[in-house]
């Protein structure tokens, strides 16, 4: 484990969210209107049974999925499981048997009643292969040979959502909106579920435009053609009158992922030398304008509480100048990601100054020795989040089925020691909001990488503008 002397500084709580212009309103919520959302990402499908892809795409699939589908449980803002389609649950047999009582009276969008049998079928076929079965009296039981204290967190994952495919191939769930139109990677339209069991949402519709560049999104927001858009990091903290934005705690990890099939980087010492050549603090201060924070660990301090153990990110002394010959180290980045490109170029420069010839190359091509990746945390459950990060970085963490905090620390230490992936920064995720969006509390609307569109309303309703 790399335990370094840690300079004791007060860490400002990472959960303090920054925002501008997010005034709470006292007027009663209004019904109606269409919320228009734009995103860079292109989501291929919403099927809860498939959950593979790159991190940004999965992040948006998550957001869109929760409009339509719900699971038995959800995680609250402290990452604790809370009831959703399950009204209550109890655990017995040392964590091997979990019994859930389903909420009565819930129907899917096509009117089909939610039953334990249907839910058990879906959970058995889910990405987590839950050994679920229906029992009488509205109960669903998941029983396994080994205790699983993280089962509630897995059930809260969108991949555990309860859904049904109608005879004409439409996916229906129990969520606040139903899917009305889907064009892969391009657009999605959702309409309100009038019979939503938690009460009808205020919005009538939600329209998602996918594949929109950040510049296009910004222009659409300014022109009043979009209500919710992604903002680039550099848009934050710059004078921009009228920009109404929300910014998350640091939850997007920027890391170096070394290609395990490249002989250039097979030696851990060499990988550490590459890491040591990169001055996180300088990049954080200059290139990132002090936005986000240098990362010492894969999981952020605000989530685990132990990230500080991994010490200062800056090496105690300058790395020894290497005398490494051979072709330049190729540092890949996603062509559409200007920040990744900037970081790749800076790393190439730093490497060169440390005696390692290096060059930034676009694309996640097989020829890259390492790649700059951006990975959003996918869960407030630290174990699930670490597994996801590791998978996205091409690693296989040695995590037991139910890691405690010490196990998690040990697994993360091992991953860091191997240095196949190196955390660089944690960045916030930011959205620009139109003035039409109203809510009682921003935390009811946006938190972590989640949103709740059932709790917001538009003022005035779009119908009065567009004549819908």
């Amino acid at each position: 484990m790399r335990l370094m002397n840690w300079k004791w500084t007060v860490i400002v709580s990472a959960l303090l969210l920054s925002h501008a212009g997010l005034m709470q309103v006292l007027a009663r919520p209004k019904y109606g209107g269409t919320l228009r959302v734009a995103t860079r990402s292109g989501v291929p499908d919403l099927h809860p049974g498939t959950w593979v892809g790159e991190a940004l795409e999965l992040s948006w699939k998550r957001k869109l999925s929760v409009l339509v589908f719900e699971g038995l449980l959800k995680l609250d803002q402290q990452g604790k499981p809370q009831p959703l389609l399950a009204q209550s649950w109890k655990v017995s047999d040392g964590g091997r048997r979990w019994e859930f009582r389903l909420r009565a009276g819930v129907r899917l969008h096509d009117g089909t009643p939610l039953t334990p049998a249907m839910a058990a079928d879906v959970l058995r076929a889910s990405v987590f292969d839950f050994p679920a079965r229906a029992e009488g009296d509205g109960r669903l039981v998941i029983e396994s040979d080994t205790p699983d204290p993280h089962l509630p967190a897995r059930l809260a994952h969108p991949g555990s959502a309860i859904y049904m495919e109608t005879s004409d191939g439409v996916l229906v769930g129990t969520g606040p909106f139903s899917l009305n139109r889907w064009e892969r990677h391009q657009r999605a339209h959702f309409v309100v579920n009038e019979e939503y069991w938690q009460g009808r949402p205020y919005l009538d519709r939600v329209e998602i435009s996918m594949g929109r560049s950040l510049r296009e999104q910004r222009l659409e927001l300014q022109a009043g053609a979009a209500d919710l858009v992604e903002l680039p990091l550099e848009a934050l903290g710059t004078p921009d009158s009228g920009l109404r934005f929300w910014s998350s705690p640091p939850l997007e990890l920027v890391l170096l992922a070394f290609s395990q099939d490249r002989s250039r980087v097979k030696e851990a010492d060499f990988r550490r030398l590459v890491e040591a050549s990169f001055n996180r603090e300088a990049v954080h201060e200059v290139l990132l304008g002090k936005r986000g924070e240098p990362a010492k660990a894969f999981l952020p301090q605000w989530l685990t509480g132990y990230a500080f153990l991994f010490g200062n990110t800056r090496p105690a002394s300058a790395p020894p100048r290497a005398t490494i010959t051979g072709p330049p180290l190729l540092i890949g980045y996603a062509p559409s990601d200007s920040l990744a490109r900037t970081l790749a170029e800076r790393l190439a420069l730093d490497c060169s100054q440390a005696g390692i010839a290096a060059r930034a190359v676009p694309g996640d091509s097989p020829g890259s020795d390492l790649t700059i990746k951006r990975i959003r945390l996918n869960s407030l459950n630290a174990a699930l989040a670490l597994r996801f990060i590791a998978e996205q970085a091409g690693l296989d963490p040695d995590l037991s089925a139910s890691p405690g905090l010490e196990d998690l620390l040990a697994a993360e230490s091992t991953l860091l020691d191997e240095a196949w992936a190196v955390p660089l920064f944690y960045l916030p995720v930011s959205y620009g909001l139109s003035e039409r969006i109203k809510f009682r509390s921003i935390r009811d609307f946006l938190f972590f990488d989640d949103w709740s569109l059932a709790d917001i309303w538009l003022e005035p309703p779009l119908a009065s503008i567009s004549g819908e």
Partner: protein, 389 residues
């Protein structure tokens, strides 16, 4: 973060026994990792300055525990260094010990579970709020009278409204005059009995009648205020301190008229019946003090709640506690087992900061006034508990 700052105090006193157990768990782990050593150099630090106040307590418990296991605590650099850090994760505080053994560092982690707001289970109990009235002016208290009339007390007037077509319509209003310099954090209390209306303001009592003059006269008065009710009868009265926002500590309960406790902000009843009564009192020092029916001190909890009151739904007496939080206070129902509170149901998010929390005259509900931080308006809500979830 306000939630965490608030929870900070939870480790004191009432939960001290829990903290002892948790620290003892850390002692076990340190003992296991340092078994071959006799001398330890123990250092304790906190990641957050807000947690620094907890360190002496933790250090003391650790030192005592380690000494009892036979370790000698020294300042020498040659001793095995055990660096204990109090940190925070999303789920709460954790205590980490880095044992710097020459053969390799070892890390031990123990979660410090403090008083927990919220529940992992479907709430068996649901707090419900119903908006009664909103105003640009501070609402000091509201009273629903026989479901058909609503009285609103502000710093300037008493307002009477009656229900018509599911809306409260103004019937009449009457000014009130305060006899003394008002508090900057003004409080007031309405008492309606039959058709009689009494408005308590600091140093002033105003009397009137629903059927006649709503406020017939106001006069200077040092009278006590009715703070808690049970089935229409006042069970706790307190005396407001002049030009302040708190009660001076003198109080009256049935059968007890000369009791005095430290100055307090608010009070809740713990019991269901007079003979089983107990009281939870939020002091001006932020400490919740717990008393039995005879006002024997049961325990204290530091900075546990900003405001409390109590109500008595069908499922038994509950204490409502206001937890200040960024973006809007939260209200949580509790039951007390001795000096130990247990959260019941999910917390109720509020759209701003609570400025008043009073039990209603029937004792079965409560009223809460919330100020929206953005536009400064005040909302008065009636709070009820649904026990049959």
């Amino acid at each position: 973060m306000a939630l965490l700052c608030f929870a900070l105090g939870c480790l004191s006193f009432a939960s001290l026994r829990d903290l002892s157990v948790e620290v003892l768990e850390m002692v076990d782990k340190i003992e296991l990792a340092a078994a071959t050593h006799k001398e330890l150099r123990l250092t304790c630090e906190a990641i957050s300055e807000q947690d620094a106040g907890l360190l002496p307590e933790i250090r003391s418990l650790l030192s005592t525990g380690l000494r009892r296991r036979g370790f000698v605590l020294v300042e020498s650099d040659t001793a095995l260094h055990v660096a204990v850090t109090l940190s925070r994760s999303l789920h709460g505080r954790i205590l980490l010990a880095a044992i710097h053994d020459p053969s390799g560092d070892r890390i031990a982690i123990v979660s410090l579970t403090s008083l927990d707001f919220g529940s992992g289970e479907e709430p068996a109990l649901l707090l419900k709020s119903r908006l009664l009235w909103e105003s640009d002016k501070p609402i000091l208290d509201v009273a629903v009278h026989q479901a058909a009339a609503l009285l609103v007390l502000t710093a300037e007037e008493v307002l009477l409204l009656e229900k018509a077509e599911e809306r409260w319509m103004e019937v009449k209003r009457a000014p009130v005059r305060m006899g003394e310099r008002p508090s900057r954090d003004l409080r007031g209390r309405l008492h309606v009995s039959g058709s009689s209306v009494v408005a308590h303001l600091p140093g002033t009592i105003c009397s009137g009648n629903l059927l006649g003059e709503l406020v017939a006269h106001c006069e200077p008065s040092p009278a006590s205020w009715p703070l808690l009710y049970r089935t229409g009868s006042v069970i706790f009265r307190g005396f407001p301190a002049a030009s302040r926002n708190y009660f001076d500590g003198r109080l009256q309960t049935p059968g007890r008229v000369n009791v005095s406790i430290p100055p307090f902000l608010s009070v809740a009843a713990l019991g269901d019946r007079e003979e089983e009564e107990g009281w939870a009192v939020v002091g001006t020092d932020g400490r919740l003090r717990l008393y039995d029916a005879e006002f024997h001190w049961l325990g204290s909890i530091d900075r546990w709640a900003a405001e409390v009151t109590s109500l008595r739904p069908d499922c038994g007496p509950l204490v409502l506690a206001v937890r200040p939080e960024e973006g809007g206070d939260k209200l949580q129902a509790f039951r007390f087992q001795g000096a130990r509170p247990r959260a019941e149901g999910a917390p109720l998010g509020l759209p701003g900061a609570v400025t008043a929390l009073w039990s209603s005259a029937d004792g079965e509900s409560a009223v809460i006034v919330v100020r929206d931080p953005e536009n400064g308006r005040y909302e008065a809500h009636e709070l009820e508990v649904d026990c049959n979830r």
